[in-house]
Symmetry: C2
Subunit: 331 residues, 2 copies
């Protein structure tokens, strides 16, 4: 069977079944693995691999931005479970057409990301590659064990929230590919695409609060990642599409490029904001406090239901049919 | 400057300078990074990346052996510093010509390696690749902090020892590439190439002993790795080539294939045995005890000198000139 049939979800299922773990260890299936290291604290470990031609085009992203983004996407996974990033291990497989200048700028981007989030890069591997460039980063973060949030603990009637605009990075990718004039709108949206902005401090604050039941980051689009959360939690959800946070810039770019803003928001991927479910009784107080502390709202976009794995969308209360294809890592 | 000029040693130097660490953390430059996690114990972390066409040819190694080898080469790095392997994180970038059967056998090989050394695979990443197959494994091991051995602590007059045959795996690679008839000699030597046999229990025993001053594994050939040890320790060495452990099988294969056994032993790579320097006063007792416990000798092959970074070879006491090229990861 070719690998198109063995998609990422099936492969992860196969790996989960092959490598079972027992508590307090947490293995495959969430944003990070969890290894308790003393009475109160745990390491969170995540890994992200990036392949040339699949995750990035070397002609379209600067070496510096690619380095920074490599750090940022892993910070997003650590933040997704409520941890603070600490250590990183970088592997790079480089074809011969990479020059010294590129490597220096890439490493400078890695360093900039490490400095921003106070991360020590402690090791890795550098190898040759016949043709394509590959990058792998493993990041270790830490968290108070009782604060760690998982994707499998959503409860019925929880309010579903996201912590930032959706579809913004995906719109940047489209603008880039269409060689659209670089207006200031486009520049701000390209910056979201090249330099994701995860918020581990805000995430750690949320993780320390009771009432946040499930949490993860949105890296493959809300539609795909919410389905994962629902599958893990054995729950369903209803999303009100008029509540999705779509920025004015996104709406302008979508209009100018004849793109569907809803499709970008639901399936675009690379949002790197948080998706969480909050106990309805705690939502008002938590979101008020969050907005005051971090000067950005928690956007309530729907609620959790008992209909296992059923993700429904409605517009002003009326159910609507959505059948966009999710982002596919094996495409 | 093309990447041929930016070789692995230069790149590692650049990374070391860019990402300095302070004790008790140990970063780039040894077989593993070290992160203390309580009063007495530390994590050891290592990463190995393998690229199709550089480190392996998919037509020449079975998926199962490749999985097993991916685990074994990382176990060798953990053992090299005296640790016991605990956790693994696997990334695979797969082109579309990989089928389900291949993936299942690869994962079975990973699992076999994990079971042999009691390792929990806790996570990783699975992505698509345009053309080549890439594998990255990050392994976490643990060790008593006072037992950890480094490559920078060789002392003058230390006896230099290796824990196994040299050049055996490299001879296997040559036999494979020459399509030589699969005699039983060749089969045993191919097994060393496909299924390296690191010995973390023996390594942990050695690490617990006083008198072992420096230790590392031999992955890129004795000539290359001993130079690294000398550079880290600011020392020199003299190696007596008649003392190098060359198996009868290796000598037979070398003769039949018109290969230089000394070149294989010094530059072949992938030996995955230990290289260590032992205080001369402690050598006899330690090697005797080691041979009794692990049924294999510590081969004494030379001694450490004060001539910084000078690696000299002699044959029966007479200096000889050796100018083989080292294995190059960017070739």
């Amino acid at each position: 069977m070719p690998i198109e049939k063995l998609d990422e979800e099936n492969l992860i299922e196969h790996l989960k079944e092959s490598f079972l773990t027992s508590p307090p260890l947490v293995g495959i299936g969430d944003d990070c693995a969890v290894i308790p290291y003393d009475q109160n604290n745990s390491w969170l470990i995540t890994t992200d691999a990036l392949a040339e031609g699949i995750h990035f085009l070397k002609e379209q992203i600067s070496a510096n931005d690619l380095g920074y983004k490599t750090i940022a996407v892993n910070v997003s996974d650590i933040a997704a479970m409520g941890g603070s990033p600490c250590y990183a291990f970088l592997s790079v497989a480089m074809p011969k057409n990479i020059d010294c200048q590129w490597v220096k700028e890439f490493i400078a981007g890695i360093k900039e990301g490490c400095q921003r989030w106070n991360i020590s890069l402690l090791g890795g591997d550098t190898i040759g590659s016949k043709r394509d460039l590959f990058i792998n980063l493993t990041m270790i973060g830490s968290a108070k064990s009782t604060h760690i949030k998982y994707r499998h603990q959503a409860k019925s009637d929880d309010i579903i929230c996201v912590s930032g605009f959706l579809g913004y990075s995906a719109a940047g990718l489209h603008a880039l590919q269409s060689n659209h004039a670089h207006t200031s709108d486009i520049k701000s949206i390209l910056s979201a695409h090249f330099r994701p902005n995860p918020q581990p401090l805000a995430a750690a604050w949320l993780a320390s609060k009771q009432g946040i039941n499930a949490m993860m980051d949105i890296s493959d689009g809300l539609n795909c990642d919410l389905q994962r959360l629902l599958k893990s939690s054995h729950k369903g959800a209803v999303i009100e599409v008029t509540k999705l946070p779509l920025s004015k810039v996104l709406l302008n770019v979508a209009k100018d490029n004849a793109l569907d803003p809803l499709q970008l928001a639901l399936t675009g991927g690379e949002d790197y904001c948080l998706l969480m479910t909050i106990s309805a009784a705690r939502y008002a107080a938590l979101s008020g406090e969050f907005a005051k502390l971090f000067a950005t709202p928690l956007y309530a976009i729907g609620h959790i239901t008992d209909d296992i794995c059923e993700l429904k969308y409605c517009r002003e209360g009326e159910f609507i049919q959505i059948d966009y294809n999710n982002y596919n890592h094996f495409a």
